[in-house]
Symmetry: C2
DNA sequence: TTTAAAGAGTCAACAAAAATGAATCTTTTA
DNA sequence: TAAAAGATTCATTTTTGTTGACTCTTTAAA
């Protein structure tokens, strides 16, 4: 049972962007801050952009920002979109050759459990994993003109 | 997000044993039935025995049987015991070097979701994943002297 | 209209984890 | 006491995930 580091990084990038909502942040900056190689991080960011969580502005003076306010981004959604392979066991796929398939109910039971996992994560918006200090900052900024 | 095939096999072995509660089943037989190598399956069975789900009787005429009736074995318990590494993300471990650690609440959120996953599996006893036909057989056998 | 700053994509190398099975050892009971 | 069962160890192979170099494309500022 693992979430790929890819997904882990994605969440951290989002948290970082949420903590810097008032400005554009470059991949360069994040890669330095998190001590991850730029090109590696790029792939993570890319997927975040393709999935509509982040807006990437190219060209001089460009950078990244959240596509929506952090209150409207559910952690569950991010994990679902970033984890490409959610087949918990072989028999989730079409080419299963498990000899119990006909009779066993395992697949449904595991699928239900996976839903429970995501349902739990869906309840949590990005703004709630940011940490108190950063969340407070978010409130202050909202009041500013 | 994956469960290892190891765990998958473990569940299948248990289902098979539950479907043959009235007799001893050898690893040999299971390996033939599931088309898995004997020595590989052995490791799975071994772990099942060490965790008290299965009783292994050695020597001539020996074999395997469930240590408890299938109604008393929760799927969640099996998965928990078979999956050795339940650290969803790096920061679950002690040596985490995530630079957000101090402030971010991700760890707790993911841990809660993982609990929800297992809570869902804990509700399901082995007897419920066996398939209707086999379960019916179980009832009949219970009534026999 | 050029240039530099940004993201996008491709590719190959590397590392870690999981799966597999051969060979050998131990226990036990018919 | 021999044969049938599980137990253990080890090495190999396969798969998956991680990493980063290199090159391409876009775009806004100078």
């Amino acid at each position: 049972m693992h979430i790929t580091q890819h997904t882990d990084y994605a969440l951290r990038v989002l948290i970082f962007l949420a903590s810097n909502e008032h400005r554009l942040v470059t991949i360069q900056e994040i890669s330095e801050r998190f001590e991850i190689s730029r090109s590696h991080l790029m792939k993570v960011v890319n997927q975040l952009i393709r999935n509509g969580f982040v807006e990437g502005l190219r060209g001089k003076g460009g950078g990244l920002r959240l596509a929506r306010p952090p209150q409207q981004i559910a952690v569950g959604d991010v994990v679902r979109k970033m984890e490409s392979d959610l087949a918990l066991v072989e028999c989730f796929t079409d080419q299963s050759r498990c000899l119990l398939t006909a009779t066993c109910q395992l697949k449904g039971v595991l699928a239900t459990a996976l839903e429970a996992f995501f349902a739990s994560l869906d309840k949590v918006p990005l703004s709630e994993v940011m940490g108190p200090a950063q969340r407070a900052l978010l409130h202050v900024l909202k009041r500013m003109p």
